[in-house]
């Protein structure tokens, strides 16, 4: 049984040889093409355009002064910090899961793959709530943490933990189909010839999966930086202390600072565009 999320963004490993479309030859073909383009422009292109238009509508100087506001800069820093911590951890987790389920057969393997994908199905708000009921003062571990005077909820560690939850399947989802397709003959040969496990991983496995690994990391990074619902529950959103960029956008918007909100948004929109460009390049690298 294949998993739900496998199909969301097709894994770059298993791309079939693309069927080549024909040149549209009749008016009805052009009608379909034009309506597809028109709808995409209306519903995807225009919202993207509005972000940059509003961000720059008072000029470049105002744009940069909005970005350079201490609260926004701090939010940028916190967002980057979260990504720096979360992405490598989930890369290691993704590699472990992929190695486990593609290199060994064991009872419960399919169930494990389904379990690993659970965070994709959970609403971000629910993700945040679950952490509140684990580490919050009302939560399961709350009294214990209180007795040691440890505070996790509404701090940076809470943001990091909930981001780990939300993005934990991203790397595994890219690696599993690829490593499945590649098989383990190369690694078995290396082990038979006397290589250690680590040597095998770094000299055989890693070069084979590097682009897919990077691709998973890029997707993971985009989601970490953009996560809103889960982070808004656990951060407490103390201005300038635990506000990540998406939360800062909401705050500026609610303060009627529209230009500021769009200036902050434009940085995240730019990251989204860069993510797509990297996706395109990495897909080509992996398949070539």
């Amino acid at each position: 049984m294949q998993n739900a999320a496998d199909l969301v963004v097709p894994a770059i490993a298993v791309q079939p040889s693309r069927r080549h479309g024909a040149r549209p030859s009749r008016p009805s073909h052009w009608l379909l093409i034009i309506s597809a383009i028109l709808l995409s422009v209306l519903f995807i292109g225009v919202p993207m355009l509005v972000i940059f238009t509003y961000a720059f509508r008072e000029g470049i100087a105002v744009y940069f002064s909005q970005i350079a506001q201490p609260a926004t800069l701090h939010a940028v820093w916190l967002t980057v910090l979260t990504a720096i911590v979360v992405v490598p951890i989930n890369m290691v987790f993704g590699i472990c899961v992929a190695w486990l389920v593609t290199r060994f057969r064991f009872p419960g393997r399919r169930l494990l793959i389904t379990f690993v994908e659970i965070p994709f199905s959970v609403s971000p708000i629910v993700a945040g709530v679950t952490y509140l009921f684990l580490y919050g003062s009302q939560g399961l571990l709350g009294p214990l943490l209180d007795s040691y005077d440890i505070k996790i909820m509404f701090t940076v560690p809470a943001i990091i933990l909930v981001s780990l939850f939300v993005t934990s399947p991203f790397v595994a989802r890219e690696l599993i189909p690829l490593m499945q397709a590649q098989g383990s003959e190369d690694e078995e040969a290396a082990i038979t010839l006397g290589a250690t496990g680590l040597q095998t991983f770094f000299y055989i496995t890693l070069p084979n999966i590097r682009w897919a690994l990077l691709y998973g990391a890029v997707l993971c990074n985009a989601r970490v930086m953009g996560e809103f619902g889960a982070v808004s529950v656990v951060s407490g959103a103390i201005r300038g202390q635990t506000n990540t960029l998406p939360l800062q956008i909401e705050l500026l918007f609610n303060d009627y600072n529209v230009t500021g909100a769009f200036a902050a948004s434009s940085t995240l929109a730019l990251i989204a565009v860069v993510t797509l460009v990297l996706k395109y390049l990495l897909e080509r690298k992996q398949t070539s």
Binding site: Q2, I44, L100, V126, L141, S168, F262
Partner: protein, 280 residues
Amino acid sequence: MSLLSKSSTRGILPGFGLTMGVTLLYFAVIVALPLLAMLYKSVNLGWADFWTIISSERALATYRITVGAAALATVFNAVFGVLLAWVLVRYEFPGRRLLDAVIDLPFALPTAVAGLALVTVFSTNGWFGQYLEPLGIKVAYAPLGIALAMMFTSIPFVIRTVQPVLEDVATDAEEAARSLGATNWQIFARVIWPAIFPAFIAGCSLSFARSLGEFGAIVFISGNLPFETEVMSLLVFIRLDEYDYPAAAALATVMLVTAFVMLFVTNSIQAWQLRYAERS
């Protein structure tokens, strides 16, 4: 002896214990423990209290609004998705690659940014809103806005599930049908549609599931009025804000159970799709 039997079932590669340990520990700490903590909180409420919370008038209104808007968004994405998958696979035209890449933007763009952009475009003075509102179509701060936000954040699902299947539809079956005198429409209805249908349904259910849980994009555009434009995720958030933790736990549990049901449904559909693909 034990070494031998191990290698015969698991191959010669090392790292089984290590990766199993890391995977289970990480999954337990990061995913399972928080989920169980919330379920524990809900169970502790007792059935009577739990039922009172989740069947309150306000909660029922959020279910209606959320499911209604998600259904509307899914119907739109179903049509839009098939159209785009079709155009991207079947025709070669200038800008096709760009269009193919742009489709993923709603997944890459943070939901808060999407919500901000959509509310600005569709508000009374916005680029689209200024023309729509005189016609009596209110999108921002109305139920339609919720559907729009859900639609935007789940655009790629149907396209990306249907596209690879459509690429694989055998041209020989199509040509055979054509040589037997089938019209274009008959070929689509009898040959192509049955082949892509399971993938199409899988894409729709992914899109619907995602819409049920959406939060970031919706809070910007919905207006958040109880009984009118309040969705499930927002009510959970409001209960937290009011320090009404039991209510937040109960409502979040409803969302979690719904998500698991949708996951089961989607997985079943995809299992069916795979069987279907193998048979044909």
